[in-house]
């Protein structure tokens, strides 16, 4: 019984010593974090069908409008531009048609209209999420004329988000 007690005491002392040694050990750990510049874009509707024009619109020279919104965010200031897709100068339409891409117009307020030619800014974004980068509402319409060939037309436009 005495031996057992001594052994137990020795273990207790060793254990305490070992425990102190662990408590005193220090080890530095470096935690690395790389924060990249990132951007997000989302056009809420990626295919729009302009309303079929009636006589009133032919007389007015334009279709009525349709629109969508551009959502964007990033941790860098950025620019949102829109342009005809690369190489697009005319609408895809009937064989005899050469409806120019410049018939397509966009607006941020359905009042001031812009022709789509080269890339133009539709909005600026700042560092931040959706809360500090409001959606950009963009309305579209097309010039129409009585002399245009009858048929279905389509055109491709490209929105681009670019870091400033």
């Amino acid at each position: 019984m005495r031996k057992l007690l001594l052994c137990t005491a020795a273990i207790a002392v060793f254990g305490a010593t070992a425990s102190r040694a662990e408590a005193q050990a220090t080890r530095n750990t470096t935690i690395n974090l790389q924060i990249p510049e990132l951007l997000f874009i989302d056009v809420t509707q990626d295919n729009l069908t302009l309303p079929t024009p009636d006589f009133a619109e032919f007389d007015a020279g334009f279709t009525s409008t349709i629109g969508h919104s551009v959502r964007h965010r990033g941790n860098v200031d950025h620019t949102i531009t829109v342009a005809p897709a690369t190489g697009v100068t005319i609408w895809n339409g009937p064989a005899a048609s050469t409806k120019p891409a410049t018939d397509l117009q966009w607006s941020l307020n359905s009042s001031d209209w812009n022709i789509v030619t080269a890339a133009v800014d539709v909005g600026l974004g700042v560092k931040g999420g959706f809360g500090v980068n409001p959606d950009i509402p963009v309305a579209w319409r097309s010039a129409v004329g009585y002399s245009e060939p009858i048929g279905s037309y389509s055109i491709v436009v490209t929105y681009t988000a670019t870091p400033n």
């Binding site: 874009i41 295919n47 729009l48 069908t49 334009f62 319409r141 389509s154």
Partner: protein
Amino acid sequence: MLERGLKWMDGRSALRGLAGLLVLAAATPAEAQFSVSPVIVQIPATEEAPVQLSVLNEGENAMQFRAYALDFDMSGSGEHTYWEHGSRESSCGERLRIAPDAFTVPAGQAATVAVSLAPGALDRTCWSMVLVETSGSSEGTILVNQRIGVKLYGLSGIADISGEVLAGTVTVDSAGLEVGFTVQNDGAWPLRPNGVVEIRDVHGTVVASSRVDAFSVLPERERTIQVAVNHADLDPGRYLAVPILDFGADFLSGTQIDFRVEE
């Protein structure tokens, strides 16, 4: 055309304009949302390992992408102009490799695009824009592509970071106080300065300030920046606007612009 447009807004057509706005408000849920990181990449002259771009599909359907390059330049006001890749003297041209150049990303997942530059041209910096693009539906009148641009710089062999803030202007009116200044990049490496615009009174005390977030200035180019400053508490009198920028060099650069707030 503008005349026709204004005419179009008259009468009953104005109602159609309103209908268009309602369409905007009722836009369908997000269809093709994605993000790319990083969107600014600098590759040292001797670095051959590719940089990995992460393309994250944040939508609910699989998305198809293509990745390609264009040459670009920036105007003094920060607008980007694009050209066919390899057509500009500043282009990274055939040194640039992008793989894969077409890929599909399932909903909620990310794909990696490797971008690298073959060794060469240690004496000059090149730049190109890598564009990650997705196409929308093929049915409709107006079909929308979306893309995110990644600025890629192939740095020259010797670090050359040099810039200065040129003289600026201050505009004070009922709309607010705006400080404009021009940054000139004198070096061979692109700059990405950031800093602060301080408004100081005649005693040198800072009475207002506004942060200047990082912006890009290409080598041997200038960039003009406009910074709005809250001046609601400024009493009439003389002040100095002091833009102070950190270019990443071992010194800060600034200038001062004298202006007056009238009664």
